[in-house]
Symmetry: C4
Subunit: 208 residues, 4 copies
């Protein structure tokens, strides 16, 4: 029973992650050159879309890493309850929200308004960080839903990671208002941190 | 066999729920400020999108709670038949319809037309309420598809909840025509009611 | 192994069906009334969307019934092979194409051009009918992929149904060019026929 | 455990594949004829959409074949690790990117700019070819994640296929700049090659 329960929540979450990650591409608008189109003109127009490609690649990477971590969290569960379901729902709300700040960033990264756009993007990461912390709490507080074989040290390590990232994301949001690319660079370096959190070439390699 | 049957209907339903919930964000239009864009101007433009954010958050919450209840219903089944499949299909039709009244609401909540928009939104909830009642009937009438271990009292409790909510949603639709926010507030307070219907911190906590 | 194989093809197919059915709603455009919006004006504008609602409801029903029949076909399989995968792929191509003729129909049903729009819609059903026939052939020819317990009579019944529907869909396409609603009415009455093909209140009710 | 691990990665991947394949249709724009619409005018307008239909059909076929090969790769695995997850993530990034060059192609295939559009399309295939090679390497290098029963010869055959296709895709990209349809024709003939790579009517037919 437990197995199936967890499975269905995972399926729904995977659906939301997969759709959010795929919708990003819809937001890159094809250039319309009209009657004066040419090979050279199209090439120039495509290359001017660089903020869109950057935002697409960045948010794709972000959602992918979030999915891997979500995946890692579910591997530790022995079941779910309604509190966990609604907490997970709040996280999914934020995941499906990501395309919006991504498009705002793509639109304004090379225009005036870049600072506001970058701050919105970083602020979204702050809220997602909180959502992950709360979800982890809903699962790991008193080991409510955690399977017996998961070591306590691993739970502390994850909790510590979320706690450490929180002020850094906050700082990135602030710094964005002063210089957009600095804030965004901090956000993206944290993604590498999240990716490393899970990556464990020795112990985990198969069926961990 | 039965297990697999139920699983595939759940997978299809989860897909429709997950997509409906994720599509909502596509409807929030990024402000286009053109040449005169500025950090301040973008901030103002973003804050003027509040009806969109409200509608997005509201409908996300609604679909999430509906999914949890759908999930709860399927937990009680021992199998599905074609009547149930088509009834479930009608419910999914209404779930995938939700983005439409949501966008109408986002567009007109701060304009003239708010009453019509709010009434459309509440009326959608009336029809979804009916769809849930019919789906419950298709499963629980004479315990057609209900697993043996499910207590009859639980079935009555759910039936009673749908029956009670129906006139309230109807009243909310009417009141919307007089004052949009009153109708919407009633709808949203019912969502809390639905969330509570399922939440059961003691008995259910793990693998219920 | 076989179990898992079939499962993944089903999951992919279910994904395509679920997304196609959910995308339909994206095509109903919210009326933009601008500064002169009013409750009455919005109501009128919404009611003028009737061809969109009709096309949305119709295509949703069509895809749902197609999914139930797809589901019925997979229940008879003992495995899949690459030929079946590509045949199934062609069917999915046509399923994901449905939103296009649906929008054309919604746009032109109450305008000049209705005949062409209706013929396009019916012609899509002709091609889908062929796709189902070919898929059934790929599975049932010499019982290649059919589980032992499935009676031969059931296979013949399905084959007969596809064969019978083919000339009717063709006729509906032709008649659409003369009178749009006649062609569409024939298409829709066939959906009832497909729904009945699967519905079997006695034998199937649970876990068939 | 391993089983479940692989399953969830497959589910997420299938989601991304299914959504990418379904989103393609959203990009075919319905012709708006306004007041002067007529049956003949609509027919002409629809037939002028041929580049869109061609691009839709082509990319659908491409994604479908990619999915079948992805499916084939996962059948050989005995588990996944984080390196494989991220490599798979990069492949999914490219899969979800496909709608963009598809729309560019649909827009410019019958206009000036066709060469650039075709080269972008072929270049996307180059990168996807690399992504598949890397994914295969992440799984098959020293048979890291490969199940015991998979013959080494099969792994070499796949590796050889990716290695052979790479310079052909590169050449197609170059040739596109000289003549768009030549480059595209080479890309599409390679799809047949990929489809054949997997198709194995004797050995595989059931539950392989």
């Amino acid at each position: 029973m437990k197995e199936k329960e967890t499975t269905r929540v995972e399926a729904f979450s995977d659906g939301a992650f997969a759709i959010a990650i795929t919708l990003l591409i819809l937001e890159i608008k094809v250039p319309h050159l009209g009657a004066e189109s040419s090979d050279r003109g199209l090439l120039v127009a495509l290359s001017q879309l660089w903020p869109s490609f950057l935002a697409f690649g960045g948010s794709f990477t972000a959602i992918l890493i979030m999915w891997v971590n979500h995946h890692g969290l579910f591997r530790m569960l022995r079941g779910v309850d309604s509190l966990f379901l609604y907490t997970n729902g709040f996280l999914l709300l934020m995941i499906t929200f990501i395309p919006f700040p991504t498009v705002v960033l793509a639109e304004y990264l090379d225009k005036k308004g870049a600072n506001t756009a970058a701050a919105l993007y970083c602020a979204t990461m702050v809220v997602i960080n909180i959502a992950y912390s709360v979800l982890h709490y809903a699962a790991a507080s008193n080991r409510r839903l955690i399977a017996r074989e998961v070591p306590q040290a691993h739970l502390f390590r994850i909790k510590w990671a979320y706690g450490t990232a929180f002020p850094i994301y906050l700082a990135a949001t602030r710094l964005s208002l002063w210089h957009a690319s600095v804030g965004l660079a901090i956000c993206m370096s944290l993604w590498i941190f999240w990716a490393r959190l899970n990556y464990n070439p020795k112990g985990e390699s198969i069926s961990a």
